[in-house]
Amino acid sequence: MDELSQDDALDAGIIVEQLRSLVAEGRNEYPRTWMPRATYEDLVVDDGREPIHLLESLHYLHRHWDMANSRICKGIGWGPKAIVQRVLSRIVNGAMSHYFAEEQEFRSNLCRAIDAIAYRVDNINYADQRALLGAVRGDLIDLARHVEHRLDAGANGS
């Protein structure tokens, strides 16, 4: 995006395409700032069921899963208390580093799993509605054919 911002005139279409390609390239890189996946469809304009991936708690989870910064205790100032805190922090982090790394990996996988489940549930939800609409469509076209046959039969009969 940076190189685009230097141009005098910008083509919005190019920016949109570039954004999409950036997202596509970074799809497998984790962590990245989380975004819900594509399930926006005209089909469910009037639907009252809200997609799971729009749940605020899911957003919170994705914003806060990475706690790497929280366990680094920098202390405040150079007083004895701050120095002791920093020393203790180093000792604990050093001793527990394996556990923390495992825990970080666990949280990362948990987020991925919940994201995948939300995505799957939303897809099933929409597939359900699409199937319903398809069935209605099929019924209506069958009905139309039936009417057409009856009209033809009536015309031949008369």
């Binding site: 995006m1 940076d2 685009l4 911002s5 141009d7 005098d8 005139a9 910008l10 083509d11 919005a12 279409g13 920016i15 949109v16 954004l19 999409r20 997202v23 700032t33 975004m35 819900p36 996946r37 594509a38 399930t39 926006y40 005209d42 469910v44 304009v45 009037d46 639907d47 009252g48 069921r49 809200e50 997609p51 991936h53 729009l54 605020e56 957003h59 914003r63 609409l133 398809g134 209605v136 469509r137 209506l140 076209i141 009905l143 139309a144 054919r145 009417v147 057409e148 009209l151």
Partner: protein
């Protein structure tokens, strides 16, 4: 709206008849655009509106317009909408079974009285606004037929789900076809390639409160800079239940606040607080809110005109709009904002607009486009008169 008797009048000015379903109490973009066109035409012609409606026949005065309400008989809007939605899912809608198309026509109803009404009006020009025209438009003839009124079709392709055959039926008798956004041209040309020169943009003039930028809205100052999410506007308009909410955006906006217009409820929030804005949800206040925003994010069901995108660009604010919509066609033509296919792309687009100089450049480009195409009301009036009354029509001085 008092009932009046229509007396024969001396023909000092041309008479234009607008045949449409988009009139009356309906609050949507197509109705607003039709009224805008009628208002522009009324500067140079007497405008009669033939309103297609399920209610009974009536004639009444509505502002400067003489409205002839013509009943649509046998219509079943719910079944028609359901069947239309079902048929729109077909891979090749042009290959519809004849019986399905016939069933759709039946649900759309019939308005045979339109012909008699047009005979009584004896217009110099007829505007077919919207694809829903359940009467025999073929009786209007085709361009080049002797003494027939000039016919202009403005199909509003993004209103409802018009089938190609329905659109083609209205293109055939038209001397000109007017498009209300740049994205309408391609499908119309593919339907009738030989009529490509007759497909012209209408470029509606969108009125905005030019002084809005000088007069901020009460209650927003404490929240600093903000982006605006439009969930429902005007208050009676359509709304997506599951659209993005204002509370979802502060974490990605680096300290910016988020204002939200949701019908009659207007709010503003940041990462810590939310406040309801104690204002009248009027258009003037809406312009005030837009004018001070860093970006306008439209999450409403897409309308057929994209008026709010144009309004935002006119006020120098970049927009984020749904892809494959009238608004997107304007924004792409103007390079005045970005568009999204899904919520993730919406977040990305907003992030780019507020965190880089791209937003300012797009805002400048959008304003230039909107000013040139949609900012001059007098030019729009002249354009519309020439479009509907023909190039030979010499514009007299506007009345009043």
């Amino acid at each position: 709206m008092a009932a009046i008797s229509v007396a024969p009048r001396p023909r000092t000015r041309p008479v234009v008849a607008i045949v449409t379903r988009f009139w009356g109490e309906t609050q949507n973009e197509a109705a607003a655009a039709t009224r805008l066109l009628a208002g522009a035409l009324a500067r140079h012609a007497d405008v009669a509106v033939v309103q297609l409606d399920e209610a009974g026949r009536a004639t009444y005065a509505d502002s400067v317009f003489e409205v002839h309400r013509v009943p649509v008989r046998g219509a079943n809007r719910r079944r028609s909408a359901l069947l239309r939605a079902a048929l729109a899912g077909r891979v090749d809608p042009s290959g519809l079974p004849a019986a399905a198309a016939a069933l759709l026509r039946r649900y759309e109803g019939r308005a045979p009285d339109v012909l008699g009404t047009l005979d009584a009006i004896a217009p110099d020009a007829v505007v077919l606004a919207g694809v829903h025209q359940p009467w025999d438009v073929a009786t209007l003839g085709v361009p080049g037929d002797g003494r027939r009124p000039r016919v202009v079709t403005i199909p509003f392709l993004n209103a409802g789900r018009p089938l190609p055959a329905e659109v083609a039926r209205l293109v055939a008798p038209a001397d000109l076809v007017g498009t209300v956004h740049p994205g309408e041209r391609a499908p119309l040309v593919s339907l009738a390639p030989e009529r490509a020169p007759d497909i012209v943009p209408v470029d509606l003039a969108i009125g905005v409160n030019r002084h809005a930028t000088a007069d901020p809205l009460v209650g927003v100052a404490a929240y600093g800079e903000y982006v605006l999410v439009v969930r429902r506007f005007p208050a009676g308009g359509p709304r997506l239940v599951r659209a993005v909410r204002a509370e979802m955006l502060p974490p990605i906006l680096h300290g910016l606040s988020v204002a939200e217009v949701d019908g009659e409820t207007w709010r503003i929030c940041n990462a810590h607080n939310t406040a309801v804005l104690p204002v009248n949800p009027s258009h003037v206040n809406f312009a005030r809110l837009v004018a001070r925003a860093r970006a306008t994010i439209d999450v409403r069901p897409p309308g057929p005109v994209g008026a709010i995108a144009i309004e935002s660009m006119l006020l120098g604010v970049p927009v984020v709009v749904p892809g494959d919509s009238a608004a997107q066609a304007h924004v792409a033509a103007a390079s005045g904002g970005l568009w999204y296919r899904d919520v993730g792309e919406l977040f990305d687009a907003v992030r780019v607009l507020v965190s880089s100089p791209i937003g300012a450049t797009l805002a400048r480009q959008g304003r230039a486009y909107a000013q040139a195409k949609h900012g001059d009301n007098d030019a729009f009036v002249a354009r519309t008169a020439t479009l509907v009354l023909g190039p030979a029509f010499a514009l007299p001085e506007p009345r009043g």
